[in-house]
């Protein structure tokens, strides 16, 4: 009897993870459309999708890391370092040079994170906290503290242009989501990421190359930070060394609101994407209804806590 009950609760938790986050988004959209008639318009919805792109992309990389029971606090700084590199390199070189080098730098930093975590066994929180500071410092040194303007027209359109009426940043986000979803659910690597987060030692004993995969996960996080940096630099047309400051927390928020467990082994990128949208829609409707930006912070904070609380209730069974 008790087992039947607990399996009911457990299956409710599963359903919540699959549908609950989605249902929460739908409810929020319904509420938003009742609060403002400007909400449910194509330009506004596309606007939301464009606004959430940067944090959304970061959050997908963060999902990989958190699934392994890790955390990556450095993503904001990695975004920053790629932004100043794009800006600095575009002064003298073409996009074909600037983009790979910017992405490469962020991946390299991710590689260092991964090696520190997997081989030197430094706790992810500490390793990436160190990188947060280090990479930000590099960004300041590289720019000498002054923002570098970006004048390249083609680069500008990356963050501000449209394809088939959809903002390019949104398309980049959707592509990152789709590719990540396939990797996580359909490749041995993705499957092992869940295994590592669920029980690292058991995964190792089963023959999973745990250290290698952990390194890859942080490299992925670095790569998507660089991608997010691309969108950022292009949208603002300026390479400022403070770019992305504090974004790591927004990314983590999107991941946990999307139902991924901070204890590892549980969660999906689809959930993270929906979590990103929930936060985006909330911000949007608060803007449309003219809520004071300071007060908006309160809503966001409460949302994160409530979402995680609900999840932990359903998860305990």
């Amino acid at each position: 009897m008790t087992t039947a009950f607990s399996s009911n609760v457990a299956s409710f938790a599963r359903i919540w993870r699959r549908v609950g986050v989605f249902a929460a988004l739908i409810l929020l959209i319904i509420a938003a459309s009742m609060l403002s008639d400007r909400f449910l318009s194509v330009p506004n919805l596309l606007n939301i999708l464009r606004q959430v792109a940067i944090v959304g992309i970061l959050a997908i990389g963060m999902t990989f890391v958190i699934l392994t029971k890790g955390i990556d606090l450095s993503v904001g700084s990695l975004l920053g370092i790629s932004v100043v590199l794009y800006a600095g390199l575009l002064e003298n070189y073409s996009m074909a040079v600037a983009i790979p080098l910017g992405l490469g730098a962020a991946m390299l930093a991710g590689l260092v994170n991964g090696i520190g975590v997997a081989f030197a066994r430094i706790p992810p929180f500490i390793m990436t906290l160190g990188m947060l500071s280090f990479a930000r410092g590099l960004a300041f040194i590289y720019t000498g503290g002054t923002p570098i303007p970006i004048l390249n027209e083609n680069f500008y359109s990356l963050g501000n242009g449209y394809i088939a009426g959809i903002p390019i940043p949104s398309l980049i986000l959707l592509a990152v989501v789709a590719v990540s979803a396939v990797i996580l659910s359909l490749t041995p690597f993705g499957r092992s990421v869940y295994g590592i987060g669920s029980n690292e030692e058991a995964a190792r004993l089963s023959g999973v190359p745990v250290n290698l995969y952990k390194v890859i996960v942080y490299v992925i996080s670095g790569l998507v930070s660089g991608l997010a940096g691309l969108v950022y630099a292009s949208q603002l047309s300026i390479g400022t060394p403070i770019a992305g400051q504090g974004y790591e927390l927004d990314a983590i928020a999107a991941v946990v609101v999307g139902g991924t467990s901070l204890f590892g082994g549980k969660g999906t990128v689809a959930g993270t994407f929906i979590g990103t949208l929930i936060i985006g829609v909330l911000a949007n409707i608060l803007n449309l209804t003219g809520v004071d930006p300071y007060v908006q912070q309160l809503f966001k904070g409460a949302l994160i806590v409530v979402a995680v609380y609900v999840m932990s209730r359903t998860d305990r069974a």
């Binding site: 359909l186 869940y194 058991a202 995964a203 004993l205 023959g207």
Partner: protein, 499 residues
């Protein structure tokens, strides 16, 4: 040990108990005489606790009679049962933590002074003499919180005696005790038996039944499947009554043993194990015996690449190998099923399906992607073959029973198509039915020519299954025994004493 067959304390006839339409106890008889220790055994869900609760006045039976001292009796409540001399000692002990031993014993029937106050002096002296009588060496003034689990249990029993219990029911009393405490408890039980109490004793440890009980009753699925004097039966009888079939045929000694599969020579990891040398062949089960801490698991983990030995060599099918990590062992078709399911086995919050295939995802890979359909079919087949009982392959593995979890982990090891398989305490924490099925799986594996290394603390298990027994003591090989030489005494002697 004899008991008084003429003094029947308790007799249950045809006890039947159902919850809703679910019959959990069906037509069960039980007799208990003065001075008799009567063991009740059965798998989880066999109805043991329902029977106890019925005898202890918690449940009222739907049908059947209970006779106490020959009198037809209906127990209305646990208090009623205690009043009639039937006391149940539950697994969860229930002393009041901040009262003294004496206060706990006399809680509910404090001796009083003429003025009606609690007579502390008498309470202490009576407690002291009661504990003395029972050979329990505890100061009556100690607070219950300061007692060990074993001591708390003793005090609960003493408390029962102070209630003039005639029938004492102990629900898995040894589950919470370590080896030496079990001895003390059994001394106490012998004492009570000598005083003429009737004792009903529940245990999962079959060897305890042979040590302490006069009579045994076996339950399965709520029904009585066997009653016998313990002197007339053996473990096989018990097990077959418990699981409703016999243990698998053990083929040790009659197996077709092939070429050497695993050769270990002089394997050494200083401070952990030294100079480990043995050979295991195709189609052979080699038992690794020894006390806890003798280094059995450590040797197994070094063989499987979990740790790196500092010297010595390992040959697999004649080829010298150096295994840098568990993956290397997997590639050589060598699998290890860990003793520590929780820490080293389960991916607790992942589905059974993923738990089963994590060891060999390449099996389902095409063009870099997993073919989920193929994986599902494979796991379905595994569930059927290993007879894993679950709601579906997508339930999280932590929801399964210990035995079924273990079978999934064995399935995980089998997924790599092993030629060498190391089982480390494969039946720890699984019930007897699953145990017998795990033995059957091992028998089938060796019959297919797989080389099996069995690490176990249960000598029964080692003796039944092994063709050869390697005994470790403090990180060294104490002796290697052939099947004919191996016995409980030769193994224990080598493991603990000699040298």
């Amino acid at each position: 040990m004899p008991f008084d067959r003429d003094r029947l304390l308790l007799e249950a006839q045809g006890l039947t108990k159902a919850f809703d339409r679910n019959v959990v106890l069906k037509d069960v008889d039980l007799t208990l005489h003065a001075g008799e220790v009567h063991a009740i055994v059965g798998e989880n869900g066999a109805g043991k606790s329902t029977l106890i609760k019925t005898l202890g006045g918690v449940h009222r039976p739907e049908a059947g009679k209970l006779l106490l001292d020959g009198q037809d009796t209906v127990l209305r409540s646990p208090a009623d049962a205690i009043g009639r001399g039937i006391v149940v000692i539950h697994q969860e002990l229930s002393l009041a933590p901040h009262l003294s031993v004496a206060e706990n014993i006399f809680l509910g029937h404090f001796p009083r002074t003429r003025l009606g106050f609690v007579d502390r002096r008498r309470m202490r002296s009576e407690t002291r003499s009661l504990l003395q009588r029972l050979n329990i060496d505890i100061d009556p003034q100690t607070l219950a919180v300061d007692l060990s689990i074993a001591q708390q249990q003793m005090i609960e029993i003493a408390k029962a005696i102070s209630f003039n219990a005639k029938v004492l029911i102990l629900d898995e009393p040894t589950a919470v005790l370590d080896e030496s405490m079990v001895d003390t408890l059994f001394d106490l039980i012998a004492k009570l038996k000598a005083e003429g109490l009737g004792i009903i004793f529940i245990s999962h440890h079959l060897e305890e039944i042979f040590r302490i009980a006069d009579t045994v009753t076996v339950l399965r699925d709520g029904k009585l499947t066997g009653v016998s004097a313990v002197a007339d039966i053996d473990q096989n009888w018990l097990v077959s009554k418990m699981i409703g079939r016999d243990f698998p045929e053990f083929s040790a000694g009659m197996r077709k043993i092939g070429e050497p599969a695993l050769e270990v020579k002089g394997l050494t990891l200083p401070g952990v194990f030294e100079d480990i040398t043995f050979t295991a062949h195709k189609g052979e089960i080699v038992g690794l015996a020894g006390l806890v801490g003798a280094g059995r698991t450590e040797v197994a983990q070094a063989i499987c690449g979990v740790t790196q030995p500092s010297s010595g060599e390992i040959r697999i099918f004649g080829r010298k190998v150096r295994l840098r990590n568990p993956k290397a062992a997997t590639r050589l078709a060598m699998a290890y099923v860990s003793e520590d399911r929780k820490a080293l086995g389960l991916l607790p919050n992942r589905p059974v399906r993923e738990n089963a295939t994590i060891s060999k995802l390449s099996r389902f890979r095409r063009f870099g992607f997993l073919r989920l359909g193929k994986e599902r079919a494979y796991v379905g087949e595994m569930i059927r073959k290993l007879d894993i009982r679950l709601a579906g392959m997508n339930v999280e593995i932590r929801t399964l029973s210990g035995g079924n979890q273990q079978k999934v982990l064995i399935g995980r090891a089998l997924a790599i198509d092993p030629r060498i398989l190391i089982f480390d305490e494969p039946t720890r924490g699984v019930d007897i039915g699953a145990k017998s099925e795990i033995y059957a799986i091992m028998e089938e594996l060796v019959s297919k020519g797989i080389c099996v290394i069995l690490i176990s603390s249960e000598l029964e298990e080692i003796l039944r299954l092994s063709d050869k027994v390697v005994v470790l003591r403090r990180g060294r090989i104490a002796t290697t025994l052939s099947r004919d030489e191996a016995s409980e005494s030769t193994i224990m002697h080598a493991a603990a004493l000699a040298g």
